[in-house]
């Protein structure tokens, strides 16, 4: 078995007295899609944000590609600004609320990372950005500012912006949770396309049906620990723990009730 692209070991994080991550270990191999599911407050978003160090863990070890950063809880041992930035540049992050730069057009949003972080020449960055916008189906919206885009379009631009850094991993933090139900599909189809190309991805999602569809590995989190993990055919279709069954049961009931899930 090849070395995993993402290797997380013994990750811990507390906010004040509240322990959010209680020793998480997991691995993602190259080209694999991992879906993190679980109730709100289970720590799945915090775990995702730890993978690119937007949230700095208290303890544990994170490897992404050839970069490893270990944390032992001492503030003085924190990696420097430069090391953190370099680490983050190798992962692409897509947020629930898009977080597009509102003073830049769609094209400029996509160009920003290569221009500022990688030092790519402007003409080349623009060419690559156009190609990425075409890939997410928004080339004709290149010169539009974010406030003139729909939620689904914003999120597709945000995906293109993250891809522009040529990350080895893409992280999605509830990328469709803030979207109107009719706009969810266009974003999911972009993510599915990336999976087909072999992009390594970690998705925090409430779209259980989509997770089953696209994920190679599903991790069910509860109270800051991995409660259950495995292929979707097992975790989603044949859950082993009571907690997983209860959680999925709620979703199945909601799906059957036909209620639009938007939270």
């Amino acid at each position: 078995m090849p070395a995993p692209l993402i290797d997380i070991h013994g990750l811990r994080k507390s906010f004040g007295d509240h322990a959010v991550l209680n020793g998480i270990s997991l691995q993602v191999t190259r080209g694999e899609v991992l879906a993190l599911i679980g109730p709100s407050g289970s720590g799945k978003s915090t775990l995702l944000r730890c993978i690119n160090l937007l949230t700095v863990p208290d303890a544990g070890r994170i490897t992404v590609g050839d970069q490893t950063i270990a944390f032992d809880g001492r503030r003085t041992a924190l990696p420097g600004e430069r090391a953190l930035a370099r680490f983050r540049a190798s992962t692409g992050m897509v947020f629930q609320h898009f977080n597009l730069f509102s003073h830049m057009t769609a094209l400029q949003n996509v160009m920003e990372g290569p221009l500022t972080v990688l030092g790519t020449p402007k003409a080349q960055a623009a060419t690559e950005a156009r190609a990425l916008l075409a890939k997410v189906g928004l080339l004709e919206r290149a010169d539009v500012y974010p406030d003139k885009l729909s939620g689904g379009q914003k999120q597709r631009v945000a995906i293109a912006r993250a891809l522009a850094m040529r990350p080895s991993v893409m992280l999605f933090d509830e990328a469709t949770s803030a979207l109107d139900p009719e706009l969810v599909g266009e974003v999911l189809s972009v993510i599915k396309g990336l999976a087909k190309e072999g992009m390594t991805m970690v998705l925090v999602t409430h779209e259980i049906g989509f997770a089953r569809d696209v994920a190679d590995q599903v991790v069910f989190m509860r109270d800051g620990v991995v409660a259950e993990s495995g292929p979707p055919s097992r975790v989603i279709d044949d859950p082993q723990t009571e907690a997983t069954r209860a959680f999925l049961g709620r979703f199945n009931a909601r799906a059957e009730g036909g209620a639009a899930q938007s939270a």
Partner: protein, 221 residues
């Protein structure tokens, strides 16, 4: 019935022009110094170090919560006694109005920076930008757009506040007008002219500020 005689203005035109020029020059100096003080103070107050933020906050509140006329008189009469250094009325006024303006500017600048959408800052960090790059590429361009209208209106206040300089016998527009009024017994003509002169300078500025306000909306993503 009062007999208006505006001819007096023409007789003393050179004094009035000199006064107006002094007012404009003084405003320019106090706006520039005030903005510099405001930028340093505003950014400094975002520090996490209490030894930095506490004195800055004390300065801002001190100047915001006392009348500028009282400050002017204090700088001219009390500060030299306190420090043993005699300063000219012009220098006292420059110091005072710059610090006064700086206190207000700093609040505008600080507000502009902290009102930046936290999500965008996070997205920039996620791309691998370093702190200074985030400030330069994402925070300041957006904050600046939001700051321009309030900075303009504070600068307009600065110009009007220079009229208080006359109490220290600094030869600004109002002081020159008062001198001529005493000399000629034509205070009504002179105060009318002074009011119109301020108005003529500031009306175009406020209209320009208004256009900036509506012409450059800051969009939300």
């Amino acid at each position: 019935m009062y007999h208006w005689d505006f001819a007096v203005l023409w007789t003393y035109r050179s004094l009035l022009v000199a006064g107006l020029a002094y007012t404009l020059l003084f405003t320019a100096i106090c706006v520039v110094l005030g903005l510099a003080i405001g930028l340093v103070t505003g950014v400094g107050r975002l520090s996490t170090n209490r030894f930095v933020t506490a004195p800055l906050r004390a300065y801002v509140e001190l100047f915001r919560c006392t009348p500028v006329l009282v400050q002017l008189v204090w700088f001219y009469y009390a500060l030299p006694v306190l420090t043993g250094i005699q300063i000219s009325a012009t220098l006292a006024a420059t110091l005072c109005l710059s610090l006064y303006g700086g206190a207000f500017y700093s609040e505008i600048i600080r507000g502009g920076i902290i009102s930046t959408d936290a999500g965008q800052i996070e997205a920039a960090r996620a791309l691998g930008m370093r702190r200074f790059q985030v400030l330069r590429r994402i925070v300041l361009p957006q904050a600046f757009k939001r700051m321009v209208p309030p900075l303009m209106s504070q600068s307009i206040m600065q110009l009007k506040n220079t009229s208080l300089l006359s109490v220290l016998a600094v030869p600004d527009l109002l002081y020159q007008g008062q001198v001529i009024a005493h000399e000629t017994y034509r205070p009504l003509e002179l105060y009318t002219f002074i009011a119109l002169a301020y108005f003529a300078v500031l009306l175009p500025v406020t209209m320009w500020a208004k256009r900036l306000e509506f012409g450059a909306p800051v969009s939300e993503a």
